[in-house]
């Protein structure tokens, strides 16, 4: 493309939107190759990167006499990964089309796959799960889908890879597709209108149905993988339309005369801003308008209701703002509001609770013990907590809860915790942000688990949750 046409394209282009997705797969199902293919075919790989990969491919004799480029090398970032030919840690990659900018979290499949899948999926709008067409649905596929259901990933795409190695056979694809659907039904994937499940035949090595639709799979009339990724709604867009406005307060902006010199130089009315007080944060779901009635939730106090009188952002006054915007909100009444409090649409939040029932994805080599003291970070607040009991461990292959009194690395289980202060906990099923928390080791500060808030026993149990 000439620079002139590019300039013209950039002139007329609509602003692109951001879409985050993750990849998950088992060993040797060609995940790195798929990622390399997406980057390569969407022209996100620049000449010097490709040269480096081509040199290494040749040094290692990739592709035998035919030669070729080992696209997997594009994503293996650390020395140990390149030397051992494995992917150790989640790697982030960036590419863009005319419609979207993509952030790709490439999650390794073999070691600590639950840890990596949970990490990648927690921020993903969609997850691409790979299946080797020669092997079909494996136990690990079931585990991956199970984790994605638990984390409420909005869109799950199953890429049936290496379709070239089964001679582009429709019957092989249909059998795998039926198996995927069966697992999806067992899990309840797609049954609640939040998540959906798509199955696409691809060859990452040759590029079939990755960026462009393939002529070698005439029986498949659906879109190529990239087309799907370009059109699915991002989770933020979905969440901005929820009715329940939620805004964890990060900090209070109260300059008390210490105004920004550049703002003053630009004509800011110093007198008018002398008593300025606003609550800074990022909207986690829903939207808010000036004039809306909101409740301020402070642990240990009754909710206080007031009105939004201003939504500020860096010198602009907004009439309305929605997730995931970072803004500063001004309230009608001079409440004492601090970091850790939550501003929410009035009347939409239930009472804060010190009893936390949760699913925990255990991410640490240190096992969880009953009676252990931990820290819980929820929104912008961190509190001490006591692990009262572990009520079971999920068998990811059968989706059944088994008895357990401890959780180990990569286990997912249910537990009850007692918090030192009540928190405005919400069911993760309906609130992907305010239903999520971290479990932190008070000794070394490391993250022990990803937590998903469950309804209290005795509340109306949502059976979709107990997968």
């Amino acid at each position: 493309m000439s620079t002139d046409t590019l300039a013209a394209d950039l002139e007329t282009a609509l602003p692109t939107t951001l879409f985050r997705f993750a990849t998950a797969g088992s060993v040797d199902d060609g995940k790195s190759t798929l990622v390399g293919r997406l980057l390569h075919d969407s022209k996100a790989i620049l000449a010097d990167q490709l040269d480096a990969v081509a040199r290494t491919s040749a040094d290692r004799g990739f592709g035998g006499d035919k030669g070729g480029i080992d696209l997997a090398l594009l994503t293996d970032g650390l020395r140990a990964e390149r030397e051992q030919g494995i992917t150790i840690d989640v790697a982030y990659r960036y590419f863009a089309t005319d419609r979207r900018s993509f952030i790709l979290a490439d999650c390794p499949g073999h070691v600590q796959y639950t840890k990596n899948t949970v990490t990648g999926a927690s921020t993903a709008d969609a997850v691409v799960v790979l299946i080797d067409a020669r092997k079909g649905v494996l136990e690990q596929t079931r585990r991956h889908l199970s984790v994605l259901q638990l984390l409420r990933v909005a869109h799950v795409i199953v890429a049936v890879n290496k379709i070239d190695l089964v001679d582009f056979s429709e019957s092989v694809f249909r059998d795998i597709e039926a198996d995927v659907q069966q697992v999806g039904r067992e899990l309840g994937l797609g049954s609640d209108g939040i998540s959906d499940l798509l199955v696409i035949p691809v060859s990452a090595l040759d590029g079939d149905n990755v960026v462009d639709r393939s002529e070698r799979t005439p029986w498949y009339t659906g879109p190529a993988l990239l087309e799907v990724l370009e059109t699915l709604p991002a989770a933020d867009e979905l969440e901005s339309h929820l009715e329940s406005f939620r805004f964890p307060v990060q900090l209070v902006i109260r300059p008390q005369g210490a105004l920004a010199p550049d703002a003053v130089a630009a004509g800011l009315d110093v007198e008018a801003y002398r008593d300025y007080r606003a609550y800074a944060g990022q909207i986690t779901e829903g939207s808010v308008k000036v004039g809306d009635k909101v409740s301020v939730l402070t642990p240990g106090q009754d909710p206080r209701t007031t009105t939004v009188v201003g939504i500020d952002f860096a010198g602009s006054s907004l009439e309305e703002a929605a997730a995931p915007q970072s803004v500063a909100i001004r309230l009608a009444e001079e409440f004492d509001v601090a970091r850790g409090d939550t501003i929410a649409a009035a009347g939409t939040v239930r009472e804060a609770s010190a009893d936390l029932y949760a699913a925990l994805c255990w991410l640490s080599p240190k096992p969880l013990r009953e009676g252990q003291k931990v820290l819980v970070k929820h929104g912008t607040r961190t509190v001490q907590a006591l692990v009262r009991n572990v009520s079971g461990k999920l068998d990811l292959a059968s989706f059944k809860l088994e008895p357990a009194s401890t959780l180990e690395l990569n286990d997912i289980g249910h537990a009850q915790l007692r918090l030192a202060a009540p928190l405005p906990l919400e069911n993760y099923l309906h609130h992907r942000r305010t239903g999520a928390f971290l479990v932190i080791d008070p000794l070394d500060g490391n993250t022990l688990a990803a937590g998903l808030v469950k309804d209290h026993p005795g509340d109306h149990e949502d059976e979709r949750y107990s997968i």
């Binding site: 493309m1 590019l6 300039a7 692109t16 939107t17 951001l18 010097d48 990167q49 480096a52 293996d76 970032g77 650390l78 020395r79 840690d89 989640v90 790697a91 982030y92 990659r93 960036y94 900018s101 952030i103 949970v118 990490t119 921020t123 995927v180 999806g184 797609g190 049954s191 959906d196 499940l197 798509l198 199955v199 035949p201 498949y220 009339t221 659906g222 867009e237 979905l238 339309h241 990060q250 902006i253 109260r254 300059p255 210490a258 105004l259 920004a260 550049d262 703002a263 130089a265 800074a280 944060g281 860096a314 995931p324 915007q325 970072s326 991410l363 942000r433 999520a436 971290l438 500060g445």
Partner: protein, 322 residues
């Protein structure tokens, strides 16, 4: 074409698979989303740490990061100092820009000086003359002396393979070292910045930005940069396939011919290892077009120190580099 149990499972057969047409008006552009994420991270670090600082070199990434900080705390002042590791080989116009920016925003500037370490015999000049890798020691010293517990860096994951594995909040041990194989998982937008005495955290609020995002944002926000990011005439000589500026610390060897070219810089670092590219991009709009059409990465095109090996950045980072 839903299946019997009303799921959105696609079959890929006869009709196009179901992607339920959800009418969602797009509220935020990708730049808005990235900006919002960065401001959230900056505010989290300020709220949770005792004494943060922001690494400010006058380079475009640190300029964008500082701009985001001014937006995060408006109408208040940016509530932390900026830290610059001065190699002593900086472009004079960049130092001038740095000082004007600090003045304009009323910030405190802390400088760690590579030259002072060399003068005291605590660092040795390298044979190749580049001082970029020498910045690590003064950086860690400044962090320790000033008791900074969080340091904002302008690193982006698209810059380099090792950076692609970096967390947004990344723990450094007592020796400033990064342990890439033992990083904390980063979940949702819940950042865990807990650390013990002696450890500190590097925070990368623009981790998810690409070079093109940075330039589009500079254009949109009308952010001032040092002039050498735009095309200008300069005396240069060719070395290692790059155009090197002629300057006090960057002298051509006898066989290297000096010529005047219209160039600009894609990265601004130590004068002894940063190369210019031939360019006619005189305005920010020109640069956006040029970057979008570029076939080389910014580091590959302009940094001698990153050409040393495939793992050059990883090795520097493990030792405590930016």
């Amino acid at each position: 074409m839903s299946t019997s149990n009303d799921t959105l499972v696609s079959t890929g057969s006869t009709d196009a698979p179901v992607i339920e047409p959800v009418e969602i008006p797009t509220r935020l552009s990708s730049l808005d989303t990235l900006e919002s994420e960065a401001i959230h991270i900056i505010r989290e670090v300020v709220a949770e740490f005792e004494k943060p600082a922001l690494l400010f070199s006058g380079g475009k990434d640190s300029v964008v990061m500082l701009h985001l900080a001014t937006k995060a705390f408006w109408p208040g002042k940016v509530p932390f100092p900026v830290l610059h590791v001065d190699t002593g080989h900086n472009f004079p116009e960049v130092i001038d820009f740095r000082d004007r920016t600090v003045e304009r925003l009323g910030l405190k500037l802390v400088v760690g000086s590579v030259q002072e370490f060399i003068d005291r015999g605590e660092l040795a000049e390298r044979a190749d003359g580049t001082r970029n890798p020498l910045q690590t020691v003064p950086l860690l010293d400044a962090i320790q002396q000033n008791k900074f517990d969080a340091v904002f860096g302008g690193g982006r994951r698209d810059e380099d393979k090792a950076r692609a594995k970096e967390r947004i909040l990344s723990l450094r041990d007592e020796f400033g070292q990064w342990d890439p194989r033992n990083q904390r998982p980063e979940l949702w937008n819940l950042y865990n910045g807990r650390h013990t005495v002696g450890q500190h955290v590097r925070a990368f609020p623009i981790s998810n930005w690409t070079e093109l995002d940075i330039w589009r944002y500079i254009e949109r926000e009308n952010i001032e940069l040092p002039g050498l990011y735009y095309a200008h005439e300069r005396e240069v000589f060719a070395r290692d396939g790059m155009w090197r500026a002629v300057g006090e610390v960057s002298q051509p060897l006898p066989h290297e011919e000096v010529i005047t070219k219209t160039v600009r810089y894609r990265t601004v670092g130590d004068m002894s290892c940063t190369g210019a590219v031939e360019s006619n991009a005189f305005t920010v709009g020109d640069v956006v077009v040029e970057v979008a059409a570029s076939t080389l990465t910014e580091r590959g095109a302009t940094r001698a120190d990153d050409r040393i090996s495939e793992a050059a950045m990883e090795d520097r980072k493990k030792d405590g580099y930016f």
